[in-house]
């Protein structure tokens, strides 16, 4: 079972590469590069250090926006979940946030804030906060009334309630919100970098695009996607496995 976990995704990737190569050979078009060309382009950006440098710049921007979005979402989400009036008031903001395309946030932030750290931070925060807020607000509603009575009976302090009741209930919702939010944040940050910034993965994509280097565009895309997958499955998945360990302990 463990072996199939690695072998089957690997089989898919190999088949994808073979299919691509067949397509590239039959089309014989410079706009559809061979697997070998994409590979050597990937090797070039990895070996000259530019990939790591630019990815770190992009990740830093996402992290900054993420911190802001997380703080705001936690406060607003808990308030929405606990108070009907706050929820009714803030609901349109969340809905607008969810429906406005990330592309629009990226454009507006570049127009308003120009080439600055504010642009990327605000754009990422704006695309991350709505799904995170919604997820937290829904999670707060699932906090068990019966366990809240237990907290009252044993006179638990606010800190103990947060630790024993609120956070354990919210973990799955937080992780889910972070997951959806991050998948949106990646798209927005690349757009912001394409439109208005002079560093980062999006900027490099734009440069390769301008010089009609399709192999370069694909190499940057593949590399970036790989980093995202590692973050998603490795980091967030690992966090999830840790936080929900109690569920998977075998029954006696």
């Amino acid at each position: 079972m463990q072996l199939s976990l690695i072998l089957l995704p690997a089989l898919f990737l190999v088949l994808l590469a073979i299919g691509w190569e067949l397509m590239a050979r039959s089309l014989a078009n410079p706009l559809v590069p061979h697997v070998g060309e994409i590979g050597s382009e990937l090797a070039r950006i990895l070996s000259d250090g530019s990939f790591v440098r630019q990815v770190l710049v992009t990740l830093g921007r996402v992290a900054l926006g993420f911190v802001f979005a997380f703080a705001v979402s936690l406060a607003v989400g808990i308030a929405m979940g606990r108070n009907r009036y706050v929820r009714q008031f803030a609901e349109p903001a969340v809905l607008i946030g969810l429906t406005v395309p990330g592309l629009v946030w990226a454009l507006l932030c570049v127009i308003w804030f120009g080439i600055s750290l504010t642009t990327s931070t605000v754009a990422v925060a704006l695309s991350l906060a709505p799904p995170l807020t919604l997820s937290i607000a829904q999670g707060v509603k699932t906090v068990s009334a019966e366990l809240q009575e237990i907290a009252a009976v044993y006179q638990l302090s606010q800190r103990a309630r947060l630790r024993f009741l609120w956070l354990p209930t919210l973990y799955p919702f937080l992780l889910n919100g972070i997951r959806i939010g991050l998948s949106m944040a990646w798209k927005v940050i690349v757009l912001v970098e394409i439109f208005g910034l002079s560093s980062g993965v999006g900027y490099r994509l734009n440069v390769e695009y301008s010089s009609m280097n399709v192999a370069g565009v694909l190499a940057w895309t593949i590399g970036f996607a790989a980093i995202m997958a590692v973050l998603e499955y490795g980091f967030i998945g690992g966090l999830e496995r840790r936080l929900t360990r109690w569920r998977r302990v075998a029954s006696v």
Binding site: Q155, F164, L165
Partner: protein, 250 residues
């Protein structure tokens, strides 16, 4: 002076179809070391009465005093066990039991000792590190009782604690509860719809009549412990209770 004094207590709930009187002018007192049962048909307000004593329903008419103090909020002096175990699913059994002393001003070693002592008292040694979903319903109720006792309450309130258990587990836990009551010298109030359970455990059984909940009668169980469920004295009380509850016997 009695440990618990309930004086002319009434409780109304607002519902969509108007106000419902759950309890009407109930007065009752409890002495130290007493085991009192409350029985009645569903909707007679027996759980409401227990929740009022526990301080979980702040709004009511009348007066409830515990050790001379007015009751209007939960307190560590009154432990409560519900029909559902209400353990935190993400905490182990010993962490759950430790919730009972989490806010107590005690050194960590003393808390630890009390947790271990009460886990042993309810017979759950060896299951300290298990999570609730790994244990059976009866074991979880025992853990809930251990959590309540760890806080060293002056009174233990039991709201149909064995209502969801199978017949054999029920009888076993009733015997265990009697042992704990004898060992710990702690007064208990048991709400139940199981007459046999009430007669087996209690000194006095309060019969509530439904809508509005009023005290219909109080039956003394003057049978020496441990009680034989099939003895004539036991069955006679059972018959008396059934008649009080309106089940005429042929």
């Amino acid at each position: 002076m009695s440990l618990l004094a309930i004086e002319n207590v009434s409780k109304r709930f607002q519902s969509s179809s108007g106000a419902v009187t759950a309890l009407d002018n109930v007065s009752l007192s409890l002495d130290a070391n007493e085991f009192v049962g409350i029985v009645g048909r569903s909707g007679c307000g027996k759980s409401t009465l227990l929740r009022l004593i526990g301080g979980l329903e702040p709004e009511f008419d009348g007066r409830i005093r515990f050790e001379g103090q007015d009751v209007h909020a939960p307190g560590l002096d009154r432990g409560i066990v519900f029909q559902e175990h209400r353990l935190f699913p993400w905490l182990t059994i010993s962490q759950n039991v430790a919730i009972g002393v989490h806010e107590a001003p005690l050194p960590a070693a003393e808390k630890h000792r009390r947790v271990a002592e009460n886990i042993a008292l309810v017979g759950l040694e060896g299951f300290d590190d298990a999570f609730p979903h790994q244990l059976s319903g009866g074991m979880l109720q025992r853990a809930a009782i251990a959590r309540a006792l760890t806080a060293r309450p002056q009174l233990l309130l039991l709201d149909e604690p064995f209502g969801a258990l199978d017949a054999f587990n029920k009888i076993y836990l009733q015997q265990e509860l009697q042992r704990i009551w004898t060992q710990q010298n702690i007064p208990m109030i048991l709400v139940t719809h199981d007459l046999e359970e009430a007669i087996f455990l209690c000194d006095r059984i309060v019969v509530l009549s439904p809508r509005p909940g009023r005290i219909q009668t109080i039956v003394e169980v003057d049978v020496p412990r441990p009680r034989d469920r099939t003895s004539p004295a036991f069955t006679a009380i059972r018959k008396q209770l059934l008649e009080e509850l309106g089940f005429a016997l042929a």
